[in-house]
């Protein structure tokens, strides 16, 4: 008598499993039907664009004459300082984020912020936004280090800060963490982890500014650098959940994509070149169908020394890019413009230029003097006692002597039409350069 009962039980169990399968997949299809459809790009507007420009060199750049004003954003001495990112606040002030600590990747690295008041022309004192401790407390998992903050303005007006956290290994082990603020960065939400990779969620990094899509979702350019090095484009909803991910390149050469949106259908992506095949050029790919497909990646005419770049699309459709326009070094920072969607580029201004100085020539005393002179050009009140030279020498000393580095630029164009550029200044400070639309117009007119 037991056999028929067992058989009946097994059959019942089988149909329970079948019912569970149909119910679960039915729910899955229902979720798919409700998901946010793909959105077109948004023609660049003043509220979402991220422009800038800057200048200064070891010899003589008269900022007053050329309409540029510069200042140091960060002031902590003897720390490694890197990867600044700009965002405009609701009251037209400008906030910048960066990371700083004993050295790159050390556990005491924190995400810092300061605010620039354009009317007063002053930067606020810096303060900490996030650290590995606050991140691991919020994320309920071990975090070894933090880095690369990137700011964004969401469609609902909230301020977002994306940054990378690493639990194991180097930067290739990065994952993205997001925090949001409803009071323009005074207070922040609990951190949220963004899942972007199936392999322990390893190796997705942010660097370049996100942009708002037509439906209010956020496009976030990221890159992967574990086995391959390639660019990707994430699409996040208002809760920082990933809706989609598109691959921009493949192989082992493309990092830190910058998306330059021209209109609803057209965009150009420029990427840092991390490949080994010369010439070392910025990589480019473009879309003509709102990001559904991307052209094969090609080398542009812009030189690149495996260094980050940034850019924005001006109101007249021209593209403005800040980069180290060199195949070898990061000792010069240049502003270039393209009027033909990135096919050709012309130099607008060399913001920093120490390319004529050869490292073996740089002895201790002359290097200190050069740094102090550059610091005074940035901040007229700077003196030797301020410790700029000591801070820079700590970062820029190598077996080949001392060198200069002006890297990781971030550009912003404000609603009022002002431009701001911030960048890493010799890995020891964040430098800010401000310029006006009038100055830019003058430079662009001189180029014709």
């Amino acid at each position: 008598m037991a056999r028929p009962n067992n058989s009946c039980g097994r059959k019942l169990g089988q149909y329970v499993v079948l019912g569970a399968v149909l119910a679960a997949f039915g729910a899955g299809f229902r979720k798919i039907a409700r998901r946010t459809p793909a959105a077109a790009y948004q023609t660049p507007g003043l509220s979402t664009s991220q422009p800038s420009v800057a200048a200064a060199s070891i010899g003589s750049v008269d900022h007053a004459d050329i309409g540029l004003r510069s200042a140091f954003v960060s002031h902590r001495k003897l720390v490694h300082t890197h990867a600044a990112s700009l965002v405009e606040l609701g009251d037209s002030r400008v906030r910048v984020f960066w990371y700083a600590g004993t050295d790159e990747g050390t556990q005491d690295v924190t995400i810092q912020t300061a605010v620039f008041d354009p009317r007063a022309g002053r930067w606020s004192p810096e303060r900490m936004v996030a650290s590995r401790e606050t991140s691991q407390r919020d994320l309920f998992r071990y975090v070894k280090k933090v880095g690369n903050p990137v700011a964004a303005r969401a469609a609902d007006g909230s301020l977002w800060l994306l940054y990378v956290t690493v639990s194991v290994g180097g930067w290739a082990g990065s994952s993205i963490t997001a925090i949001t603020s409803r009071d323009d960065g005074e207070t922040w939400s609990q951190a949220r982890r963004i899942i972007t990779s199936p392999f322990f969620n390893q190796s997705t990094l942010v660097k370049s500014p996100p942009f708002t899509l037509a439906d209010g979702t956020l496009g976030v350019p990221v890159h992967h650098e574990f086995l391959g090095k390639f660019g990707e484009l994430l699409r996040l909803d208002g809760s920082a959940a990933v809706l989609d991910k598109v691959r921009l390149s493949s192989g082992r050469a493309g990092l830190q994509p910058v998306v330059l949106v021209e209109d609803a259908q057209h965009a150009l992506v420029l990427m840092r070149y991390a490949g080994k095949m010369r010439p070392n050029r910025v990589l480019g790919t473009a879309t003509a169908d709102g990001g559904r497909t991307w052209s094969p990646v090609t080398k542009t005419t812009l030189s690149n020394s495996n260094a980050a770049l940034t850019g924005l699309v001006l109101a007249d459709g021209r593209m403005l890019v800040a980069l180290n326009n060199s195949e070898e070094n990061r000792n010069a920072l240049t502003l270039v413009v393209s009027a033909d969607s990135g096919s050709t580029w012309k130099t607008v201004c060399t913001v920093e230029d120490q390319s004529f100085v050869k490292s073996p020539d740089l002895k201790d005393a002359p290097y200190s003097a050069a740094i102090e002179r550059l610091a005074r050009e940035t901040d007229q009140g700077a003196t030797a006692a301020d410790g700029y030279a000591e801070s820079v020498k700590r970062q820029m000393r190598s077996a080949n002597g001392y060198s200069f580095e002006f890297s990781y630029p971030s550009l912003l164009r404000t609603r009022e039409g002002g431009f701001h550029l911030v960048y890493t200044w010799n890995e020891a400070f964040i430098k800010h350069v401000q310029f006006s639309q009038a100055w830019l117009d003058q430079r662009l007119a001189e180029m014709k």
């Binding site: 169990g13 089988q14 499993v17 079948l18 569970a20 399968v21 119910a23 679960a24 997949f25 729910a27 899955g28 299809f29 229902r30 979720k31 798919i32 998901r35 401790e133 691991q136 407390r137 919020d138 994320l139 309920f140 998992r141 071990y142 975090v143 070894k144 639990s167 194991v168 609990q190 949220r192 982890r193 963004i194 899942i195 990779s197 199936p198 392999f199 322990f200 969620n201 992967h224 574990f226 086995l227 391959g228 090095k229 390639f230 990707e232 959940a241 990933v242 809706l243 989609d244 991910k245 598109v246 691959r247 390149s249 493949s250 192989g251 082992r252």
Partner: protein, 209 residues
């Protein structure tokens, strides 16, 4: 300590379950009476959730592994249930069909998702109807061929994805993780070599030339 959100709780609970199953790999633990074995596993699960410094033990593991797939939890949960039911065996025959499926899926996913070629199969997990339809077909085929554990696992993973059980919005993360993938690849490879070895021993002398 910040209050955990629901996905932190589910993530840590999943890790606690998996860590509790680890002692079953120790022969001495498998020889314990079922009640004491269950008590030991429950103790391990509780201990890994106790804060050590700023975080629970499981959170340190979570920093490395992330959240574990539903497939991993089904395997670990199954091992624990069999253990409590008193049938833990070191040489328990592997669920080869299921493990083969996991191994094949892992080989299809990870190389391309990590950069081999331009196609990214991981993208399908963000809600491709073709991907979910394909999984449904596999689940129905598994049910038809009397593999309810495969059909049930796929259903559970899909349901968990639908309910946003974890932080991830990608269905792949509910189906697979690197740990279960490595385990499946190892088990399938070992089983394949074992069969080859047995076939070789059974072959007639003439065939061994």
């Amino acid at each position: 300590m910040t209050s955990p959100v629901s996905t932190d709780l589910t993530g840590l609970a999943g890790l606690a379950l998996a860590l509790a199953a680890l002692p079953l790999a120790i022969p001495a633990v498998r020889r314990l009476p079922p009640f004491r074995r269950a008590l030991l596993l429950a103790t391990v699960a509780a201990i890994v959730l106790v804060p050590f410094g700023p975080l629970p033990w499981a959170a340190y593991v979570r920093g490395v592994t992330g959240d574990l797939s539903i497939t991993t939890l089904v395997l670990c949960g199954g091992a624990i249930l069999r253990s409590i039911a008193g049938r833990p065996k070191a040489d328990e025959p592997p669920q080869l069909w299921g493990l083969t499926l996991i191994a094949v899926a892992a080989l299809a996913l990870y190389p391309m998702a990590l950069g081999v070629g331009r196609f990214d199969p991981y993208r399908l997990g963000y809600g491709s109807p073709w991907f979910v339809g394909g999984l449904l077909a596999v689940a129905l085929a598994a049910w038809q061929f009397r593999r309810p554990e495969i059909a049930g696992s796929l259903a559970l993973a899909t349901l968990a994805w639908t309910l946003d059980w974890y932080e991830s919005t990608n269905l792949w993360d509910y189906l697979l993780d690197p740990l279960v993938s490595f385990y499946a690849l190892g088990a399938v490879t070992r089983s394949g070599f074992g069969r080859l070895g047995r076939a070789g021993r059974r072959a007639p002398p003439a065939a061994r030339v």
